[in-house]
């Protein structure tokens, strides 16, 4: 038994090459790829590898991060061509015989290295009125059945990481589309039995840049680190618009 337990967690270290997309608005150069050889531990995530670069090789490498375990939504980036959270992507789960490509999420202006301007994304979120609108003034909690709750529970998980919206080929085209994240958050309220403003949000998303631009490409669903069924939520919103109510 002893040896069995001692072996656990004995994941070897190894060296990988990371190609990181660099851009610094202050040095007057174009964006470019820079490679780093990083020795990582078996359980290291891409975020750890980036920290190694920042802390040991090049302090100017810039990226956002906070919680380091997939709940704050800071570090969505394009890793080997797919949108993921760097803190949830184990290096060893990627193909480490090849270099790992890390670049900013697409469709938003790059500010520096892996940092993008998130403001258009947040604005689309705010545009769908992401808050409960209810006129009654209850003294206690409003009642809601488990069944009513389950209608929108999935979309309450969103951490606004933008992995979905910036993986959407429609969003890439001109950045005007509201994007899956905004629709997900509208869904969260449209289907909340306590909310009274579903029609308002439905009206907003019935826009030229609204749900109808979605081409059901499912990139968003594949990208969502919270496992939200994004495309399904969008389909439900489309149906709600057709019906004119949730």
């Amino acid at each position: 038994m002893a040896t069995e337990f001692e072996e656990l967690g004995a994941v070897p270290s190894f060296t990988v090459t990371l190609f990181v997309r660099r851009f610094n608005p202050e040095d007057g150069q174009e964006a470019r790829w820079q490679d780093f050889d990083v020795e990582v531990h078996g359980t290291d995530r891409v975020l750890d590898a980036l920290h190694k670069i920042k802390w040991e090789m090049d302090g100017s490498l810039t990226f956002r991060r906070s919680c380091a375990h997939g709940v704050c939504g800071s570090d969505a980036m394009r890793i080997n061509g797919r949108n993921r959270l760097a803190c949830k992507t184990l290096v060893k789960d990627l193909d480490i015989t090849q270099p790992i490509y890390v670049e900013p999420i697409k469709g938003l202006a790059v500010e520096k290295d892996l940092v993008v301007d998130m403001n258009p994304f947040y604005q689309a979120y705010r545009d769908i009125k992401p808050f409960l609108i209810a006129s009654d003034k209850p003294e206690k909690e409003r009642l809601q059945s488990a069944a009513q709750h389950s209608k929108f529970e999935d979309t309450t998980k969103c951490i606004l990481c933008a992995a979905c919206t910036t993986s959407c080929p429609v969003f890439w085209t001109d950045g005007q589309y509201f994007g899956p994240a905004a629709i997900v958050n509208a869904h969260r309220f449209i289907f909340d039995s306590r909310d009274e403003a579903a029609e308002v949000r439905i009206d907003i998303l019935n826009d030229k840049e609204g749900v109808w631009r979605c081409r059901t490409t499912f990139n968003c669903t594949e990208a969502c680190p919270r496992g939200i069924e994004v495309t399904k939520a969008i389909a439900e919103v489309k149906q709600a618009i057709l019906r004119g109510k949730p």
């Binding site: 080929p169 499912f218 990139n219």
Partner: protein, 112 residues
């Protein structure tokens, strides 16, 4: 995403074909000679192969269109979208294989 890329490409291809197709068909109004003259220039192997491509494109576009409609309107459509994609490919392939030899036999004038 690839299903969408293909859908879009095939849609465009069919659209442009349709433009030409309406125009050439309109020649029947002009005179039988004109129509036949144009149509006969189509009866060369290259166009024959292109027609094959067109049929493949229509097959995929139409079947995938059905898939998209099911995703939109069928409760379980989202869940089975990936499976449905492969079903689309499979049906399109089978139908295409049923059509291709016959069409090629017409184009190249052999018997099957």
């Amino acid at each position: 995403m690839w299903s969408w890329v293909l859908h879009r490409i095939t849609g465009v291809a069919i659209f442009f074909f349709l433009l030409v197709h309406v125009l050439d068909t309109a020649l029947v109004r002009l005179s039988p000679e004109a129509y036949n003259a144009v149509i006969s220039t189509y009866k060369i192997p290259l166009i024959g192969l292109a027609e094959l491509g067109l049929v493949a494109a229509i097959l995929f576009h139409a079947l995938n269109g059905v898939r998209v409609i099911l995703i939109d309107f069928w409760r379980k459509g989202v869940k089975y979208q990936n499976v449905m994609f492969w079903i689309v490919i499979a049906i399109a392939a089978i139908a295409f294989l049923g059509f291709a030899p016959r069409h090629l036999s017409h184009v190249f004038g052999f018997e099957i």
